[in-house]
Amino acid sequence: MERDERDRIGGDGRIPSDGRQRTASRRRLLGTGAALGAAALAGCLGPFDGGDGGDGGTGTGSPELDTFRGSGAQVGGRPELSGVRIDDLPPLEGSLDVYIGGGEGGLYLDLLEILQDVYPDFGVVPRQAPSAQLANTIITEVEGGGSEADLFWSIDAGSLGAVADAGATVQLPADVVENVPENFRPDRQWVGVAGRARSIPYNTEQFSADEIPDDVMALATDDRFSGGLGWAPTYGAFQAFVTAMRVLEGRETTKEWLEGILDGGVTEYANEFLVSDAAAVGETGAGFANHYYALRVKAARPSAPVDLAFTRGDAGALINASAVGVVEGTGKRELAQRLVRHLLTVEAQEFFATRTFAYPMVEDHPPVGGLPTIDELETPDLDLAKLSDVEPTLELLQEVGVL
């Protein structure tokens, strides 16, 4: 595996996470920017550009794993993958109406395209809008007599949680979701397919990795960050993060934290790509954002001085999931469940890991090279269904004047 060896070592000389020689720090560098750029670019070209890196784990039959995989340095270092493959599953036949949450929805459509190429008799009719809007739509439709959707694919667990709470999902069979950690399939009403970690993108010219606290709560009181932080309080992922903090630390502590950040001076952005970009250009020193946005910034400008830090065991280390649920009242429950199975195959999980830089949800499926693994991240112990309880968070955000 000569190629593997070469690709496994990033340009900065570090050995990415799957090696035994893990660096001690959780705050792993993002990997080499140039390679990242290549990876992201390749991920954008379309379903069949394949990958020039990584021959490990190529499927024995059709379809080829490379069809699903992105390319680039991290991807080149992919280990042998095991788990349920598409070939192991019964085929997809028929047509499904799928409501797909916005954002990464475009890339998810690519995956559905590939599946439709694999199964000529399978068709997806996608409908895209922001996840929360689709959740509202499904709830309203079900109230009004039945939804048009067979499957809801949300980019956050909260939206699916809200739909499930409204009784608008049907339970998934146990064997469909068994390989996914339990907190990403509460009561089997929905199941996570790809994860996103909360992170602190920071400007490497202003801070070194050691200077970013382990504890997200400390950022509110640390003078070094005064006036130099960025956040996106109207952004769903941020609100989920505050909800998590509220559940973990309590309302009062969360309120103090918000006030602390506000008092220190913080710049507000419309979304977390902009938060990450602001840290990369030095407009802010650090910010609060999902992990993959900084990777996207690096992909656009490989030399950008931005890196990711992860806090430990608190709301700042939350992992949210893009998730799917079968919608109540569908006449195609069996087919919808079968599609869910496909989203949890090695091939689909590899798609999420290498093309969207997401965390695979199936246990034992490693994330791409530069990222720490989920167990390294020390995620908080939190029931993700609670993230749908955003109302008190909004009240809190309004009370302290953030919203």
Binding site: G106, L107, A300
Partner: protein
């Protein structure tokens, strides 16, 4: 003052009383049906809001943040409306009554900002003038470290004003173009200076035009979501959106009702200011454009150029800049642009324009010809949907569609209906003002000659009001082209339009991908704007 009385009398001669006594049960019924249809989505709001307990409702409304949102919204409406009048009226006067070089060019350039969707305009402004925008990059080597903040109230007012003042510009132009010049001359003969004559004779005559435009601006400012959201300013639409995003549907409904209450107040204020002036009754097509600007030509042109650059140059410049960039943040995967999106946009917009025009005719005709309270009520009712945020209207129609009219849910008819609810008043306003300019005695004459009332309308009134009707249709077309929230909720699955595509790529951060469809959107809307402007010349004779 004697001269004033005489001027008034000349004006009254030119004006003619409408025959408001004739009863029109059929027409009233149709107009009532249209009004009922467009306010029907409010029913869903009431249903939702009723699920909030009274105590909780009161609690929500007196919260400091809720009061702040109300104050912010009112501030925004007042400032944007004032700004639009201050920009739109002088520019209309300049382009209509002064010997401006390249007058046609300026008219088009100053009307065109209306075709720029405000979310694109706001985004362009943030990327051009934001703390790390293009301008900051240009100025940084010159030692300019910090630009004035673009976010907040100031930025929101600036951006919104720049993209909505054309409403006032267009309606003021329309009334200036139909102004009877003999009135002005009479005033001059009677010893008034030009300025006095303008203030005492022209201004009162064009006031209904100004208020009609100002009303559209005020309601637009109230219902716009994109600009305040991008510019970080907390108003009703933003709070409503935040509530919906987080499944507080009942609270969102309550906020929406509050917003509609504000709308009602605005409508009431407008009817006091705008309706006591004899509407557009003054008429005459004699245009005099010998008002020499003299030395003022240069500053006037500079001012117009500044507005054109800010309102049209900046957003187009930023779009072209995006078009020229590459890299993953600007060109993304999974979002191949197809030109059929443009066709789809044009198709639904044309359908919305057609239906709105047809629905506006009875309402506008009745409102212009009858002084009954019912006629006024029906006309006012059509404005309710215009002030309703798209997301509220969208969800209301999702509910109505899923509950009562399943067969049209997620089909084009329901989408077009949503557009009609949103934009009908634009067609009503334009049609109404042209009906006002048709002498009712012409219709009477046709009736005496044996035409039925419908026949008289078709053969006499309709040809005369055609320019106004077409102008209204063009206005509906171009606002439908850029409508986003209701389109996202209600479009038939698989039926992508320019805005749904632009939303998709922007949401994913691929701004470069948005440039081409955004330019296509602006170009297509510009065509309808040109159509609208060509109708100006064909005033009612």
């Amino acid at each position: 003052m004697a001269t004033e009385d005489r001027i008034e009398r000349v004006a009254e001669q030119a004006a003619r009383e409408s025959d408001d006594d004739e009863s029109r049960p059929g027409l009233t019924l149709v107009a009532g049906a249209v009004a009922a249809a467009v306010v029907s989505p409010v029913a869903w709001l009431l249903l939702r809001a009723s699920e909030v307990g009274l105590d909780q409702a009161l609690d929500l409304m007196v919260r400091p943040t809720a009061v702040q949102v109300l104050v912010n919204s009112l501030l925004l409406v007042v400032l944007v409306t004032a700004g639009s009048v201050l920009l739109g009226v002088p520019m209309a006067v300049l382009t209509v009554r002064a010997d401006l070089p390249f007058e046609r060019f300026w008219t088009v350039a100053l009307a065109l900002p209306l075709v720029v969707p405000s979310y694109i305009g706001a985004f362009a402004y943030v990327s051009a003038f934001g703390p790390r925008g293009a301008l900051a990059d240009v100025l940084a080597p010159l030692g300019v470290e910090r630009l004035p903040a673009i976010y907040g109230l100031e930025g929101t007012v600036l951006v919104l004003t720049l993209f909505v003042y054309p409403y006032v510009f267009l309606t003021t132009r329309a009334s200036l173009l139909s102004f009877d010049e003999s009135l002005f001359e009479a005033a001059r003969t009677l010893g008034h200076t030009r300025r006095e004559a303008f203030r005492r004779v022209v201004l009162p005559r064009i006031l209904p035009g100004i208020t009609a435009g100002a009303l559209l601006v005020a309601l637009y400012a109230l219902s716009d979501f994109g600009t305040p959201a991008i510019m970080h300013f907390d108003v009703f639409t933003r709070s409503i959106y935040v509530e919906y995003t987080n499944f507080g549907r009942d609270t969102a409904a309550l906020l929406s009702l509050q917003l509609l209450a504000v709308t009602a107040v605005i409508l009431a204020v407008e009817s006091r200011v705008g309706r006591d002036q004899g509407d557009y009754a003054s008429r005459g097509s004699r245009r005099v454009r010998d008002r020499s600007l003299g030395w003022w030509t240069v500053p006037a042109l500079a001012a117009l150029a500044l507005v054109a650059v800010l309102a049209l140059g900046v957003p187009l410049g930023v779009l072209f800049m995006w078009l020229g960039r590459s890299g993953p943040a600007y060109a993304g995967g999974g979002f191949a642009f197809e030109w059929t999106y443009g066709l789809n946009s044009a198709y639904v917009s044309a359908a919305a324009a057609l239906v709105s025009t047809l629905a506006a005719l009875p309402v506008a005709y009745l409102a212009a010809r009858s002084r009954s309270r019912l006629a006024a009520l029906f006309e006012r009712a059509t404005y309710v949907g215009y002030a309703m945020p798209g997301i509220v209207l969208g969800l209301a129609l999702v509910y109505l569609g899923a509950t009562h009219v399943r067969s049209v849910y997620q089909t084009l008819p329901l989408l077009v209906f949503a557009y009609v609810v949103r934009f009908l008043p634009q067609a009503v306003g334009a049609t109404r003002s042209s009906v006002l300019q048709v002498d009712p005695r012409l219709t009477d004459a046709a009736r005496t000659l044996g035409q039925s009332s419908l026949g008289a309308f078709r053969r006499v009134t309709l040809p005369l009001i055609a320019p106004g009707v077409v102008a209204g249709a063009a206005l509906v077309f171009l606002t439908t082209m850029k409508e986003l929230p209701a389109t996202l909720l209600l479009h038939p699955t698989g039926f992508e339009t320019l805005v749904t595509y632009i939303w998709g790529v922007q949401e994913a951060g691929y701004y470069g991908q948005a440039a081409l469809p955004a330019l296509a959107l602006v170009a297509l809307s510009a065509v309808s704007m040109l159509l609208l402007l060509t109708q100006e010349g064909k005033d009612v004779k």
